[in-house]
Amino acid sequence: MSAPFGKVLIANRGEIAVRVIRACRELGSRTVAVFSDADRESLHVLLADEAVPIGAPPATESYLVIDKLIAAARATGAEAVHPGYGFLAENAKFAQACLDAGLTFIGPPPAAIRAMGDKMAARRVAIKMGVPVVPGTEQPLSDDAEAARVAERVGYPVMLKAALGGGGKGMRLVRAPGDLAGALRAARAEAGAAFGDAAVYIERYVEEPRHIEIQVLADAHGGVVYLGERECSIQRRHQKLVEESPSPFVTPEMRRRMGEAACRVAAAVGYVNAGTVEFLVDRERNFYFLEMNTRLQVEHPVTELVTGRDLVKDQLRIAAGEKLGFGQDDVTLHGWAIECRVNAEDPFASFIPSPGTVVGLRAPGGPWVRDDTGVYAGCTISRFYDTLMAKLIVWGPDREAAIARMARALGEYKVAGVQTTIPILQRIVAHPDFAAGRLSTGFMERLLATDRPEGAGRHRPIALIAAALTAYERAGRPAPAAPSPATTPGAWRQALRPGWRSR
């Protein structure tokens, strides 16, 4: 297969830039990384063929500056631009600017981004195509008084959402009228900072919903297929933590109906390239169109592992004008895949971000384990960007095997220097509700409510040894002195003894 492009610029950073570089390299395309002053030593810069500095650490001065990215593409002679996810990935102006500069944008046409990027217009498209939606506003909220009126009309609890949003930014759940004003302020501030537009709208909140999305691929010749679903119900603060494909909740018949609805929405806006149609699913298996993400999703690897397709390569081929080369009947789901997001956050302290230097790192391996990472031992996780460090993805012939493999791989994953979500991910995959497939977006709230206090577990003696030895080594390891003679086995060890050997 010949390379779809001679040279591709990746307008992103972190693990997704690494992911795209890997696909380009396998296809024989040369790669151009861009980097802010904070990212000179980031992995994507180290792996690319060329790298162009684009400015100061804040994204608004680097990764979000269209002119700098276009200039970098021109200066390096790149023919195409891959936007990754986040940053400018769903910015129609950026897609248009690429086209105006004679570059291929590896994503949908600007008009499709615009049609789906306005979440309220997207709802209208879905309604027109006969796809059910959650009740709410069709226009952005003009002021707090209108917000209060709309919230009363659709009924509490309500969900505030950024009109140009995605990825949980600018979203707030409001359970009572008294919380509305504060939530609006926070949602607008986040939306403004993340998307450059503070517009917010309201939807009725579906209680205990599942978040299930359909991957679609469309070529420029009218071919549209769906590649099954991903269940992304394990979320915290509307940020996904664990995703899987297929969903334990979706029946073959439901998959077909959701898939066909997703393809109708994509076709209605002239969609080309990879996209994802997100649905809320209630307890009765009714599904409601939420939005369409006009880009590659963070969680795309689980679809890759069950379909055997490389979605980034498909994106590149489609952008180069190739036909899909396969039809819906050729898509079969094989086995089960699960992804866990390893974020630099402290799950024992309300998930506060934990930027810093990754002083120690050991990633898991073994059969059917994939580590899509943007970090390495010695690298620094900057406070300027989001907290995603790596995605751990496993495959198994069935869900039970995949869960066991994920538990095994998480146990092997060692990170020192920054706090990560690994401990909470271990608790999620070990939870009986997770094993039983009883998932909903309220799962994390319930899990955290039953949280064990820290420091009460069976590994306490080993933790104490590790901490004391660290202090001892740091103190410069003075000349050994004879320790005081051992006394009778103390109550300390007796009490903890049962935990010594069981792991």
Partner: protein, 165 residues
């Protein structure tokens, strides 16, 4: 070398001797032979009674955060002499809360004013870091004595934000 380890409200005396991976620890009077290697910065391999463990150790605010098997321990380890000096000098009845920034970020909201009465759970300050808004709440009932930051101000870990009496 003698240490005092504090964790979960307990203070446990620890004495350590040895080097190059072979250590003798006397913990609360019981002596243990431990084979321990720091296999990566902060990643300890520990062999004890034939069992193999791996613990991740990160320093934060003068304590060690130890992650092992999905569990987390916050352990403060001090040399015995330092511990004695610190605890003898401590004044009794510490109340109130000194809210410090746990991470670098930017202040996006200060929700209280000096002199204001607060109850546990009341929002004090919102810090923006890594594209997320993080709200910090009062842990005690009291009065806001000092506010040391303003909206828009960048802060570093350990910076005092608000003092409650």
């Amino acid at each position: 070398m003698k240490f005092e380890a504090q964790t979960g409200g307990e203070t446990i005396p620890v004495e350590i001797a040895g080097a190059d991976g072979r250590f003798t620890l006397t913990i609360a009077g019981e002596r243990l032979a431990v084979d321990a290697r720091e296999t990566g910065e902060g990643i300890w391999s520990i062999l004890l009674d034939g069992a193999s463990y791996v613990a991740d150790v990160t320093e934060q605010d003068g304590s060690y955060l130890v992650d092992i098997g999905g569990e987390r321990y916050t352990i403060r380890v001090e040399e015995e002499s330092r511990y004695i000096i610190r605890t003898r000098g401590a004044q009794g009845g510490e109340r109130g809360q000194v809210l410090k920034a746990p991470m670098p970020g930017k202040v996006t909201l200060v929700a209280v004013t000096v002199g204001q009465a607060v109850a546990p759970g009341d929002g004090l300050v919102v810090l923006e870091a890594m594209k997320m808004e993080n709200e910090f709440k009062a842990q005690v009932a009291g009065t806001v004595k000092e506010i040391r930051v303003a909206v828009g101000q960048p802060v570093n870990p350990g910076d005092v934000l608000v003092v409650i009496e």
